[in-house]
Amino acid sequence: MTIDYLALAPEIVIVVTLLGVLSLDLFLPRRKKFWVATLAVAGTALAAVPLIFLAVEGSTRSMFDGSFVVDSFALALKGLLLVGAYIVLLMSVSYIESDRYWQGEYYLMILSSLLGSMVMASGRDLIVLFIGLELTTGPLYLLAGWRKGDIRSNEASLKYFILGVLSTAMMLFGMSLLFGLTGVVGFDELAAVVGDHAAEPAMVLAVLFLFAGFGFKVSAVPFHFWAPDTYEGAPTPVTAYLSVNSKIAGFIAMLVVLYLALPDLADIWAPAVWALSALSMTVANLSALRQRNIVRLLAYSSIAQAGFMLVPFAAAAVADADLAEGFSATIIYIAIYALMNLGAFAVVIAGARATGSGEVDDWAGLGRYNPRLGVLAAVFFLSLAGIPPLAGWFAKFVMFRSVILTGGAGPIALAIIAAVNTVIAFYYYARVVKAVWLDPVPEGAEIPEQRAPAGSLSLALGLTTALTVIIGMFPAIATVFADASQVLTAAGG
């Protein structure tokens, strides 16, 4: 058997980087740990080179009996994951440095989680997908508890861990039943035979178990209750990673399995996806209204956004329409969400330092004494709300367009729920912006001395701002993800 090393090159670069991080960390004295961070950031950036080469070359490469496929869909997702991890690493540098311990291992964890999600993006059978998902989440259980002096961080990691392994067990039980019924694990083979078993109760059970497992991973209602606590307790850059990369990984797992392996069972899972989407939007948005802490607000916001992401896919599935259109709209939404949410978390890190607090009320008047940060906060929160000309509007536009093109009672009902929720979401996003710009500085508040954020954090802010604004102005860029997912349609649909 020959192995196509070029197709594996992005993963190989990450592996080499993380082994380098692990060994470099052994020899460096504590004062020089920034070299570990530099290596991690550089390695992540370097992995983009073979990725771009592969994308330009554009052929589909399949390895290991078709269980690992590098096509433009996988490459687009890998690119997104790399950008996400790169920005998270930039955010982490100054944050982790101030915590002072276990920096080397921190970067090791992030990089291996990134590797797991990249493997997943290419995985085309249940086993590779499962191993990739575990490699993605395993290090994150540990990272959530990384501030081990803080009991809230300990608790965050325990909650995340118990519910994470529970969801893994449910997902695996679903997979084992699926294997038992069909005798195959590859997505293509599964797609060919699952239709014959659609009526069996065991198949319904398998699909629902799988679905519940994925529901936990993407933290969609009603499987979301770990998310706000874990997000609040974990170190903020880890929270950013959880809400972006790990959520993307969960969505890849869910959508790819449903779309590539189980399209013939849409009768079983389509109502479930519809309900998951509607519930996530509504419950999370209503809970977000009550939040005072900005990280918890973003936690509920990201649950709600997960609901929005599922809207096009759910609509296409319940209407029994062509899934491809909904699938690519969902992927575009995920990509734009990733960029603006990362930006929002970068603002939270910088803002927590500028105001000395993570409560929305304490951010009052931030725009007066730190206008630059105030503008950035407005950019990302309004983008999350979907205000043009920031990137968020295009995500919402694609979502609604896809649903309306699909038509039918189920999709339209979902679109109405989404529209109502967009308004509710606007209210709490705008509340943050109002606090920053319109509210007076609280009486007697001690404002810490304002310093420019660390270079790496500024770079993260700059990158996310630029991407959010540019994609908002020229949305054609984001459609690269739509084109990429068409490849999958041609191959799998």
């Binding site: 508890g145 300990n154 325990l158 909650k159 039980f173 294997f179 038992g180 694990v185």
Partner: protein, 98 residues
């Protein structure tokens, strides 16, 4: 015969799931998850045998390795918590609410 193996696996899985709901000691909850994973393994091996396919046993191997890694991670988390709290009970962890 295979159906009986499946039923045993399903029973183990259900008992494990019930344990997660009933117990509040993190260690025991975690053992219940291991129980569920064992049920998955039994399903895979029995199904693989009925199908005459080795893939069931291979999948079992992967589940087992992942379970081992998760045990390492989970016990590290529990030890880290215990350093602060002297407890492994989830009920006593209530810093984060709401």
């Amino acid at each position: 015969m295979t159906d009986w193996y499946m039923l045993l696996a399903a029973a183990l899985f259900t008992i494990g799931a019930m344990g997660i709901l009933v117990r509040r000691n993190a260690l025991v909850m975690f053992m219940c998850v291991e129980l569920m994973l064992n049920a998955v393994n039994l399903t895979l091996v029995s199904a693989g045998r009925a199908l005459g396919s080795l893939d069931g046993q291979l999948a079992t191997f992967f589940v087992l390795v992942v379970a081992a890694a998760e045990v390492v991670i989970g016990l590290a988390i529990i030890v880290a918590i215990f350093r602060h709290r002297d407890t492994a009970s989830v009920d006593e962890l209530s810093e984060l609410k709401g």
